[in-house]
């Protein structure tokens, strides 16, 4: 019996969510086939790649990355260069320096930086917080206000601060809300339900289902993304049809494979290459599982992953 192709197109679709404004805006989601399965039906919006920059600048960045950013001095220059990175679809500004503690960055400072970055780039902007939910809620509210109309995604609203973040980012300033849960399909759904009950339109929600570096419990990440995509597509679960954004760089550059120097572990070889490959392997695996966007930081990883996505579309 000859082989007959049986394209698997679902009746339900992933929500289409736009980020940014003007000519350079992008759209995530929209597909009615399993992520990357462009052989089942054309995929209108290919997965997107974000370039992460930190409010702390380039301190401690690996050499090839420093080379890429060259003599960028201000955060605006860094942002501009990040936006120009081949393969970049959006820029993600992370407020590492805002974490409560000695010398923490104030909310006002964060707003100032966010405005400088937004003014320097014309591709969409994503704002990531400092992992402290309370501080994040304060930063997001003020930055969302300052960047009204730019259609910015905020990462993320969590269970403990979703009311404040949802109300300010999603309702008051009509920006995009990232809903962050920790690798559990039920928690992800619950947070989406809570946010929609608050009045945030589901077209304004994006999920961050949690992340891990390859080898560090990544099976939970992969299976959570896969289960969410199947629930959204095959079962038509409207509370799980939001596109998925997975921050990768923030996980992969802090595991020992990327951190241990060549002096301490000579047999492991070049440290920067280890960091790059860890970022590439994790990002490719996230996309294979079904992420609609990944956030990376090294120019080599951005080039490779964007080329892989282009080759698959």
């Amino acid at each position: 019996m000859a082989f007959v192709q049986k394209p698997q197109v679902y009746k339900s679709a992933i929500n289409t969510v736009e980020l940014g404004a003007g000519d350079r805006k992008i759209a995530l989601g929209g597909a009615t086939v399993y992520p990357l399965y462009s052989f089942d039906a054309p995929i209108e919006n290919a997965p997107k790649i974000g370039v992460e920059i930190s409010d702390l600048g380039l301190e401690g960045a690996p050499k090839a990355m420093l080379d890429y950013y060259g003599d960028c001095k201000t955060i605006a220059e860094v942002a501009k260069k990040a936006a120009a990175m081949p393969g970049a679809d959006f820029v993600c500004l992370r407020f590492d320096g805002a974490e409560p503690g000695e010398g923490e960055r104030t909310v006002e400072d964060c707003v100032k930086i966010a405005k400088e970055v937004a003014a320097a780039i014309d591709i969409p902007l994503v704002i990531a917080g400092c992992k402290n939910s309370q501080k994040d809620a304060q930063i997001f509210e003020k930055v969302a206000e300052a960047l009204t109309g730019r259609n910015v995604l905020f990462l993320s609203a969590k269970e403990e601060n979703h009311k404040t973040v949802g109300a300010s980012v999603g309702l008051a300033y009509s920006q995009k809300v990232g809903a962050e849960s920790s690798v559990d399909i039920n928690l992800a759904k619950q947070l989406n339900v809570l946010l929609t009950q608050l009045g945030v339109a589901k077209e304004n929600i994006i999920m961050n289902l949690g992340s891990a570096a390859a080898g560090y419990g990544f099976e939970y990440v992969a299976s959570t993304i896969e289960r969410v995509k199947l629930a959204a597509l095959a079962q038509g679960d409207a509370m799980l049809q939001m596109p998925v954004v997975t921050p990768v760089a923030s996980e992969t550059w802090s595991v020992k494979e990327a951190l241990i120097s060549e002096d301490d572990m000579p047999e492991w070889g070049n440290q920067e290459q280890r960091g790059i490959q860890m970022e590439i392997v994790t990002a490719a695996a996230c996309l294979a599982a079904g992420s609609d966007a990944v956030i990376l930081k090294h120019p080599a990883s951005v080039a490779t992953i964007s080329a892989m996505v282009a080759a698959l579309m």
Binding site: M1, A2, F3, Q5, K6, Q8, L36, Y37, S38, F39, K131, A213, A214, G215, Y216, G217, F218, E219, Y220, A222, S223, E226, R227, L230, S254, V255, K256, E257, L259, I260, E267, W268, G269, N270, Q273, R274, I276, Q277, M278, I280, V281, T282, A283, A284, A285, L287, A288, A289, A300, S301, A303, T304, I305, A307, M308, A311, L312, M313
Partner: protein
């Protein structure tokens, strides 16, 4: 297609003779349908019916064995498309390519890479499992590479569409049970004869899925079902489409002719681009590549890839565990502070990662908690003052370590008093509740 209990019942003698150990033929048929007992438990079933049933009740994807001895590997045998449904059983093998089309320097580098990668991660030895010997045009150089590859002590995949040359290669390497790959629509008869003669797995290719399917059907008709499908097509997109569709046809649509493991040649799809090859190895580890071929393997490639593979090929119902014991970190010695946590692999990784980041020498103690996370283990009674005291005794901590300071997980800070009672002489300090706070905590503690 799978048969129902009723279908099988119709094929039984229907005598209820109980010779199979079941009260009725119907009960027997139901169990066979579930795969609980094999059909040949019934002594009265004819061979003809048996063959028919074997075919119908066989798993959707064959398990194919390659290599011998410690280099024997199982490929395929998967029953699901997603690991949350059921464990993926045969892990993706990473193979490094040598070729008569490569420079001598590149081949030497590939052999050196294969010898170099060898380490252990959570109880699993990580190394390049297979050498892919590719024939392009220089037969003498190719046979020389087969010889060298054969001496590496790994499983070989001999990719040679020229049956006469392949015969010579097998004179050198057949004993190690390599894969003979390169059968296609035009040469499959000669290649099949060669594979059958040496009892080897045959690798089949095609210019598209229709041709591949066609060739496999012809080979099956000739009696060979010991196959691997090289699903590498002209480019990345077509290869991904082929790999996914082959697996989907086998598992979802019950297409037996595609129910074989796969080879994905990333070295060919992204020649010269090691970053892209690693990205593809990751993609095809999640999406149905049984063997992935790369141009080389450095620790930069190996560490994330083997880590990923170890994660993906685990039982989704069973948490991954690390061995209980003492793990000295950052050059810790017997005088370094002790920090105890559970044997859930994820907890171990997060905690050991943060401890390593702190740079403070710590003896990380992993206690047996059934593979649960801290709070779950505590709630289930698997992490308690008594279990910790028992672990201290079994692992002989008091004699092995001189320090008498023990940091316990902040989430079970309530255990402090009880542990102090069970471990007299020890100073018990609860850590902050989240692992991420450990760096600051340990540095301040050490200062």
């Amino acid at each position: 297609m799978a048969l129902t209990g009723l279908d099988i019942f119709k094929l039984t003698p229907k005598t209820n003779c109980k010779d199979c150990g079941n009260p009725t033929c119907m009960a027997f048929a139901m169990k066979v349908a579930q795969g609980a007992i094999p059909i040949d438990k019934c002594p009265h079933i004819s061979d003809e019916v048996k063959a028919k049933l074997d075919e119908a009740t066989a798993p959707p994807m064959k398990t194919i064995k390659i290599g011998t001895g410690e280099n024997e590997h199982s490929l395929g045998g998967e029953t699901v498309l997603y690991r949350h449904d059921k464990t993926f059983v045969s892990k993706t093998l990473y193979s490094v390519a040598v070729s008569d089309a490569y420079s001598d320097e590149q081949n030497e580098k590939a052999f050196a890479d294969i010898a170099n990668i060898d380490y252990e991660r959570i109880g699993e030895r990580m190394r390049v499992e297979a050498v892919f010997v590719d024939y392009v045009s220089d037969g003498t150089k190719f046979l020389d590479l087969v010889k060298k590859a054969n001496d590496m002590g790994r499983t070989l995949i001999i990719n040679c569409a020229d049956a006469d040359l392949a015969a010579k290669a097998l004179e050198i390497a057949a004993a190690g049970k390599p894969v003979l790959s390169g059968a296609n629509a035009s040469n499959f008869e000669a290649m099949n004869a060669l594979a059958v003669k040496h009892g080897l797995v045959l690798g089949v290719t095609g210019k598209d899925l229709a041709e591949l399917h066609d060739t496999v059907e012809k080979l099956e008709k000739a009696g060979n079902k010991n196959l691997i499908l090289d699903v590498t097509m002209a480019n990345i997109k077509d290869t991904f489409a082929a790999t996914v569709q082959v697996r989907r046809a086998a598992i979802k649509d019950g297409d037996r002719s595609f129910g074989y493991p796969s080879i994905v040649n990333a070295a060919r799809l992204a020649a010269g681009d090691r970053h892209m090859q690693t990205a593809l190895a990751s993609l095809f580890t999640l999406r149905y590549g049984s063997v992935v071929v790369l141009e080389g393997m450095s620790y930069a490639d190996a560490l994330p890839l083997f880590g990923l593979r170890q994660n993906i090929f685990t039982n989704p119902q069973k948490p991954m565990k690390v061995e209980p014991g003492i793990y000295p970190l950052n050059g810790a010695d017997e005088n370094s502070v002790c920090l105890i946590t559970v044997d859930f692999a994820l907890t171990y990784f997060v905690v050991s990662g943060e401890v390593e980041r702190s740079g403070v020498p710590v003896n990380l103690l992993i206690t047996d908690a059934g593979g649960y996370s801290v709070l779950t283990a505590w709630a289930a009674g698997k992490l308690s003052a008594s279990s910790i005291a028992k672990f201290f005794q079994e692992a002989d901590i008091e004699n092995k370590i001189k320090s008498r300071t023990l940091v316990i997980p902040g989430k079970v800070a309530v255990l402090k008093g009880e542990i102090e009672d069970k471990l007299p002489g020890w100073k018990i300090i609860p850590s902050p509740p989240e692992a991420i706070q450990l760096v600051k905590f340990l540095r301040e503690f050490n200062a």
